[in-house]
């Protein structure tokens, strides 16, 4: 199976949401600011529950926030 990577639009969506701070997003979804930082860097894949809470915070679907990229 090809190696998969999860990319996200969290940083862009955060700035589009009245330049929401990382801490504000972290407080909203129930995680630490450090987790938001590593999420935006693509170094951490969130659980489904956290992914859904992030998507709900931005008023988007999970697929609009996260993208599965397969190495061909």
């Amino acid at each position: 199976m090809a190696k998969a990577e999860i990319r996200n639009q969290i940083r862009r969506l955060r700035f589009e949401a009245n330049e929401m701070t990382q801490q504000a997003l972290a407080d909203s979804v129930g995680c630490t600011r450090q987790t938001i930082i590593v999420l935006e860097q693509g170094r951490y894949v969130p659980s489904l529950a956290l992914a859904m809470r992030i998507a709900r915070t931005f008023g988007r679907t999970v697929e609009e926030v996260f993208e599965l990229v397969d190495d061909a």
Binding site: C31, T32, Q34, T35, I37, Q41, R43
Partner: protein
Amino acid sequence: MAVIAWIIVALGLVAGAVALAARHAASIAPARVVPPGEKVPVTSTQRLVGWSLALGLIPAVAAGALVAWFGPDVYWDDDAVRLTVTGLVLASMFILVAPQALASLWAAHDDRRIDERDRGILAQAPTSQAAAMLVVLAIWVVALTESFRGEAGIPRVYMYLAFWSYLLVSLLAWNVGALLGYRRT
């Protein structure tokens, strides 16, 4: 070679392995990107583990230094030395086990001081623990075998020293493994 010398070599090897692992973890982790002028925040759990390691190391090193200074025979025969070392080891253990206990408490009460990433990092910390204990076990076996080859038996004091060292190394390695986990992710 004297057993204490073997122990010092062993501790040096373990420390060297941990340092290499830390450097490797730092080299494969991409640089953290944060807004200019800001530092990457340390999580509450990460801070707890770091302080526990720093503070727990002090009595552990003191206990080892006392045994090395007085020697195993004096440690075994002198109640004051033995009880002091035992007290230091127990103090170190209580400090080092605190993060595990508090993290479990926070997780059980859905405390915001620990999130899913913290739980995941702490869950992988025992990997370092198991590896460190195997290394220490192997070193004790070799050290005692070579030091007491040809003798009728191994003095009981070394069983106690080995036991305490397993416990301390186990807890130290858990804390180190947790901190390395924060560096890796």
